[in-house]
């Protein structure tokens, strides 16, 4: 018997949307923690920066690695956005239908999806700005350089909006991924779902608090540090030759 030809595209699109989302969410889980190294000390944040610039592997700083990472994450970000936009309400009528439905039902998970649409839409713009700056100015990351960007280059408000939207989007997304594919659903899905939901909400709260503290610290340094010698951080223990 002849095997039926099937159109594999819808399966691939659905899987790719989930897979790109998973990669981005896991990236964010790490990103915000690494960036919170500033809460430990300026020196700690500097060392994390050096690590990502490959200093501990090659003995020299290669900010190009950051550019490469930003480009890679940026590409996945664009792919994810392109796939996810298929699900957006495409007209005012659709928008009205889904909002009225959600309000009438007072249904939390439908509401969570609306949050995904709104935060996703926000990140089309603010996420792009952030990614492009990381791509174009990879060497300007560090306890002072980042603080200067937050305050002097007025990125603080954008980072604030980005923090709120990306953390909500990432953890709601992870929660929804688990339900969508049946990950860890166990025998009683009502129970596992309730647990995942509590975990999701706690992680959102935790990451927003940690993120806000980090942003606060960068802002504080930005206002109080004397940038007359430039934005380079000078470590007392590690002397790095600049690789140009």
């Amino acid at each position: 018997m002849r095997k039926k030809e099937i159109n594999k595209i819808p399966a691939r699109l659905d899987f790719l949307q989930s897979a790109t989302g998973l990669i981005l969410a896991l990236f964010i889980v790490g990103h915000i923690l690494f960036e919170a190294s500033i809460l430990v000390s300026d020196e700690m944040m500097y060392r994390v920066t050096l690590m990502f610039e490959g200093y501990y592997f090659f003995g020299e700083r290669y900010p190009g690695i950051i550019s490469f990472l930003a480009a890679a994450i940026g590409s996945i970000f664009i792919l994810h956005a392109g796939l996810a936009i298929r699900k957006f309400p495409a007209s005012y009528r659709d928008y009205k239908t889904i909002t009225e439905h959600t309000k009438r039902m007072k249904h939390e998970d439908s509401y969570l999806w609306m949050v995904q649409v709104i935060t996703g839409f926000m990140m089309f713009f603010i996420g792009s700005v952030h990614l492009y700056i990381m791509f174009s100015q990879p060497a300007n990351i560090g306890p002072f350089a980042s603080s200067s960007r937050v305050v002097d280059e007025l990125m603080g408000p954008l980072y604030f909006m980005l923090l709120i939207s990306v953390v909500s989007h990432a953890f709601i997304g992870l929660y929804r991924l688990a339900l969508k594919w049946g990950f860890g659903e166990g025998v009683d899905t009502k129970k596992s779902r309730a647990r995942f939901k509590i975990l999701m909400k706690s992680m959102i709260a935790l990451y927003i608090i940690v993120g806000l503290f980090s942003l606060g610290k960068y802002t504080y340094i930005g206002f109080h540090h004397d940038f007359s010698d430039g934005v380079r951080y000078q470590s007392k223990t590690i002397v790095v030759g600049e690789h140009e």
């Binding site: 095997k3 039926k4 099937i6 159109n7 594999k8 819808p10 399966a11 691939r12 699109l13 659905d14 899987f15 298929r86 699900k87 309400p89 659709d94 239908t97 889904i98 439905h101 959600t102 009438r104 039902m105 007072k106 249904h107 998970d109 439908s110 999806w113 929804r176 339900l179 969508k180 594919w181 049946g182 659903e185 899905t189 779902r193």
Partner: protein
């Protein structure tokens, strides 16, 4: 019995007769004295008996088995016969389920929609190789599998999952949880000889399982507590697997 005074319930009902060209959708309210163990089934009969005999609504079994009395109770789809008034506030709003053809007031034509769905998904055992032989013994099945299939067969086609689904409100061609649950039921059944590719043909698209946005309204409103979340995830995995197979 207790001397406490019973609550007086205010029941607001969205009324409309689509066959009367002069009529328009409007709310009408009725006051009914609450009684112990009262369900919305009792309330609606009380209204029809004492207030307004033109009120249209559907009931058959009044025990949550026939699936006829599905309606929006305070905005949430559920079966009226299984809804106790004591669990609700004194002011209750009733409206017909959206998406289905309206017969009048709370009465909707779910049967027509469900028939279309069943024809679209061919929800019956497909076995091309064997002629039906009523004298032969049926193939044996593991009890656990039989239980699993039976669990999914408990669907009464009340339409609550359809009305609770945000996806289908926006995209009416979406197959809905009732459809995906039925497909999962036949996919599990070893007597159904349809190949995975044939299932993929039916639901491996954006009107099928890949259109589901996992809002889980279906799971949360199903009056029969069917494992919809789990079975939609199962079909999603199966259909992805099929797409990777060849």
């Amino acid at each position: 019995m207790s001397e406490e005074k019973n609550r007086v319930l205010t029941i607001s009902i969205l009324r409309f007769d689509p066959h009367d060209s002069d009529d328009f959708p409007h709310m009408e309210s009725y006051e009914v004295e609450e009684a112990p163990g009262m369900t919305l089934f009792v309330v609606l009969n009380e209204i029809r008996e004492h207030h307004d005999n033109s009120l249209k609504f559907d009931f058959v079994c009044r025990a949550g088995i026939c699936g006829s009395c599905s309606m929006l109770v305070n905005g949430k789809p559920t079966l009226a016969c299984r809804t106790l008034t004591k669990k609700l506030d004194a002011h209750i709003t009733l409206a017909p389920l959206p998406l289905f053809e309206l017969i009048g007031d709370l009465s909707i034509y779910t049967g027509k929609w469900m028939r279309g769905l069943n024809e679209r998904l061919e929800t019956w055992i497909h076995d091309k190789s064997n002629e039906l032989n009523v004298d032969a013994l049926e193939e044996r099945m593991e009890p656990a599998l039989a239980d699993e299939i039976y669990e999914l067969d408990r669907c009464v086609e009340c339409g609550c999952c359809v009305a609770g689904c945000g996806t289908i409100q926006m995209r009416p061609d979406f197959v809905g949880a009732v459809g995906l649950n039925k497909v999962a039921r036949y996919h599990l059944d070893p007597r159904d000889k349809r190949e995975d590719e044939e299932y993929y043909e039916m639901i491996g698209n954006e009107d099928g399982v890949f259109g589901c946005m996992t809002l889980l309204g279906c799971e949360d409103v199903c009056p029969k507590d069917l494992p919809l979340q789990s079975k939609i995830a199962y079909m999603r995995r199966m259909m992805l697997k099929t797409s990777l197979k060849n």
